[in-house]
Structure formats: structure tokens, C-alpha cells
């Protein structure tokens, strides 16, 4: 099974990769078909993940672990939302779940960041007030001051300062990080395609 699994991963990966760089008619069609099947399998994997989440919390309830009351809430909300969702993602009840729970909860968690980021910044200055930490927070404060409409209006030359920081330094740093991430993704992908890494279970 391990060898077959590795063979499947390598062959499908190579066909899809070839389809990217050799966009010949039949190869391109095959790549699109393989990617489409992968999308269907990914959707099934999402269902498997949700069932697994249900299983973990069901076990917490059945073994009466600490805080299992929260697991009851999770299971009720999960099953209810799923059943409502089966009626169609445009029905009014699922809209109520979206507008009443999911969107406000996400927005409020984002709003909490406004406080926790300040707290984290203060902690950073207390624990490691070296030159790079001060530069990092200093730039953040400068960008915030240059972006915010203050009661006295915008700072004179705010646009020039922001442009200078962005175009000369932030672009270079972001580009370096992006290239580094892409190189990492490339290496990890090649390791999978060469069968060195087998995250699907074959060791």
C-alpha cells in the first residue's frame, strides 16, 4: 500500500506539474481533470475533518471530561448549521446563522486584535527592547500616524514618508520574504514529488 500510495502521489504530481509548463492540449485537459478530482476529494476531506471534530467532542462528552459542556454547545451548533445548510446556502435560516453568529464572531475576534496587539507591543518592549524591536514598533507607529486622519489633519509630508518607507524598504523586505516562502514551497513540493517526504502516511 505504501509503494502504491507513493506511486500515485508521484505520478499525479508529475502529470499536473507537466501540465503547468507544457500546456499541450491533451496534457492540459488531463491536468484540469486531475485538479478537478482533487477539488472533489478535498471537499470530502473537509467532511471527514468535520466528522472527526464531532467524534473528538462526542468522546469528550461520553467520557465526561472537564469542560465537556462546551462540547455539547459545539455539537449542537455544528449539527444545526449543517442541517440548515443542507436546505441550501441561500435559505433565510442559514443567513441568520451567518449574519447572527459567524460574521459578527469573526469581526469581533478581529476587533479584539486591536487591544491584544497593543498589549503584545508593550510586552515586546518590556521583554526585549533591542534595536530591531524599537525599529519595528517605531515604523508601525510612524505608518499609523501618517495614515490616520488626526484632529489636526494629516501630518505634513505624510504621503512622502509613507511612500519612501513602502517603496524602498517594505517592498524589498516583502519581496525577499515572498521569494523565501516560494523557495520553501518549491523545495517541499519537490521533496514530495521525489518521494522523500510522504505526508500521506507512507514512511
Amino acid at each position: 500500500m505504501r509503494i502504491v500510495a507513493a506511486f500515485v502521489a508521484i505520478v499525479t504530481g508529475l502529470i499536473v506539474l507537466l501540465g503547468y509548463f507544457v500546456p499541450a492540449g491533451s496534457l492540459l485537459e488531463l491536468r484540469l481533470q486531475l485538479v478537478q478530482w482533487a477539488a472533489i476529494l478535498a471537499a470530502t476531506a473537509v467532511l471527514v475533518g468535520v466528522v472527526s471534530l464531532l467524534g473528538v467532542h462526542w468522546q469528550k462528552i461520553s467520557t465526561r471530561q472537564k469542560n465537556s459542556a462546551y462540547s455539547i454547545l459545539l455539537i449542537i451548533s455544528l449539527v444545526t448549521t449543517f442541517l440548515l445548510g443542507l436546505l441550501g446556502t441561500n435559505n433565510p435560516l442559514i443567513s441568520l446563522v451567518l449574519d447572527g453568529i459567524i460574521v459578527p464572531a469573526e469581526a469581533t475576534l478581529m476587533a479584539l486584535l486591536a487591544v491584544t496587539l497593543i498589549y503584545a507591543s508593550v510586552r515586546l518592549l518590556r521583554r526585549r527592547a533591542d534595536s530591531m524591536s524599537i525599529l519595528f514598533l517605531g515604523i508601525a507607529v510612524v505608518i499609523l500616524l501618517m495614515s490616520a486622519p488626526l484632529p489636526i489633519g494629516m501630518f505634513p509630508g505624510a504621503d512622502v514618508v509613507k511612500w519612501f518607507i513602502n517603496e524602498f524598504f517594505a517592498v524589498a523586505g516583502a519581496r525577499g520574504i515572498l521569494i523565501g516562502v516560494a523557495l520553501g514551497a518549491l523545495t517541499t513540493g519537490l521533496r514530495v514529488l521525489f518521494g522523500v517526504d510522504r505526508p500521506y502516511g507512507g514512511k
Binding site: 500500500m1 499525479t12 451548533s77 486591536a114 530591531m132 524598504f169 514530495v192 507512507g202
Partner: protein, 232 residues
């Protein structure tokens, strides 16, 4: 007072906003309860979307309508992902999860290829060409741009890109006494890279903070609107 769907939605939204904001006074049962309900609802919604938008139209629908049995091409197009999906379901059971290895291997293989294609065509080539485009002084001269300034900008950006990459380079050589040393040139470039990274993360931090502040203002506004709706 009439209970309209809008008012019910606003009331539920108000309750969840208050429960989650209660985290500001510390981790508490109300916050936890809200988060568990939110995680359950989000997972249920994602599962419903996966079923309605992908699994039903691609697998279940063609079988129920009979279109999957119209010919060998249609049969393969539905049969292969159906078989993969059925095998994947074994992943739920820890004892039988090894049966789900094949579809997982397929997913990982396709995922790796898509990641490589995306990394090379979507990031590496565009970013590298953008870095070197700053030195295209002929085109800049034709378009009337200040070539000296553009060249200076290109040098500063190139230095930053190389410095940032050098910062993440952890190669070192071992000297005769056993101590490990980084190449001095890489060391200098890595220090320059640190400065660029600190500035970049500072800019990103400011962006995230502004987004969080916008979300906080929006939530406060929604609370105010709920009370206005309640009164009116």
C-alpha cells in the same frame, strides 16, 4: 414590537459581540461558550458548502440523475472521485485509516504540483522580474522617468531582497577548532536583511492594526445600531 428576521439577527449578533468582547476582562466561560458555538457553526457551514457546492453536484447529482451512466467518459469522471471519496471516509476510523492513504497520496501529489506551479509562475518569476525591472533604465528613459533615481531605488530594493534572503540562510562552516562560523559577507547581508524585515513587519503590523481598529469601530457601530433598532 414585531420580531423581524433582521431584528433577531441583530439581537444574536449583539449577544455574540458582547460575549466575545468579554475576553477583554480575561478568559471566561461566556467567551468560551461563544467561541465553541462559533467554531461549531463555522464547521457546520463549511461542511454544508462542501456538500452543496462540490460533493452533491459532482458526485451525488450525476448518479441520481443517471448522467454518470451515459458513457465510459462520464462514468470515469464520476467513478474515480467517488471511489477516492469512499476510501477517504475510512480516515475517520483510526483502525481503518490506512485504507484512506491512496486518496490522501493523490491529494498530496496534486497539491505539491499546484504548489510548485504557483510558487514558480505566481511568485518567483514575477518577484524576480519586478526586482530587476528597476534596472531597465532604457524603458525608464523612454517613458521620461528620472533614471538616476530609479537606479538608486533599484539598488536599495535589490540590497533589501538579497539581505532578507541572506537572513534566512543558515549555512555555516566548521573551523579547525570545532567552532561554527557563518560567512562574514552573509553575516553583513543578514544584518541588513534584519533591518529590512523589521521595517516590513512594522508596516504589516500597522496595516493589521488599522484593520483590527476598523473591525472594532464596526462592532461598536453595530451595537449602537441594535439599540436604535430596538428603540424604534
Amino acid at each position: 414590537m414585531q420580531l423581524s428576521p433582521g431584528l433577531i439577527s441583530a439581537a444574536v449578533s449583539f449577544i455574540f459581540t458582547i460575549l466575545i468582547l468579554s475576553y477583554l476582562i480575561g478568559d471566561n466561560p461566556l467567551f468560551r461558550a461563544a467561541i465553541y458555538v462559533f467554531v461549531g457553526a463555522a464547521a457546520g457551514y463549511v461542511a454544508a458548502v462542501a456538500w452543496n457546492e462540490v460533493i452533491y453536484p459532482a458526485l451525488v447529482g450525476p448518479i441520481l440523475s443517471g448522467s454518470a451512466f451515459e458513457g465510459p467518459v462520464q462514468g470515469i469522471a464520476v467513478g474515480v472521485p467517488l471511489l477516492g471519496s469512499l476510501l477517504l471516509l475510512f480516515k475517520v476510523s483510526p483502525r481503518l485509516s490506512s485504507i484512506g492513504q491512496l486518496p490522501m497520496a493523490y491529494l498530496v501529489g496534486v497539491g505539491a504540483a499546484v504548489a510548485i506551479g504557483g510558487a514558480v509562475l505566481g511568485t518567483l518569476l514575477p518577484q524576480i522580474s519586478a526586482t530587476f525591472n528597476s534596472f531597465d533604465l532604457v524603458s525608464a528613459g523612454v517613458s521620461g522617468a528620472d533614471t538616476a533615481f530609479m537606479f538608486f531605488n533599484g539598488v536599495v530594493v535589490l540590497l533589501g531582497v538579497i539581505g532578507t534572503l541572506a537572513y534566512f540562510h543558515f549555512g555555516a562552516t566548521q573551523s579547525d577548532d570545532g567552532s561554527v562560523h557563518r560567512n562574514p559577507i552573509v553575516n553583513i547581508l543578514a544584518w541588513i536583511g534584519r533591518v529590512y524585515i523589521a521595517i516590513t513587519f512594522g508596516v504589516l503590523f500597522a496595516g493589521v492594526y488599522m484593520a483590527a481598529l476598523t473591525a472594532l469601530i464596526e462592532r461598536m457601530d453595530s451595537i449602537r445600531n441594535f439599540f436604535i433598532q430596538l428603540i424604534s
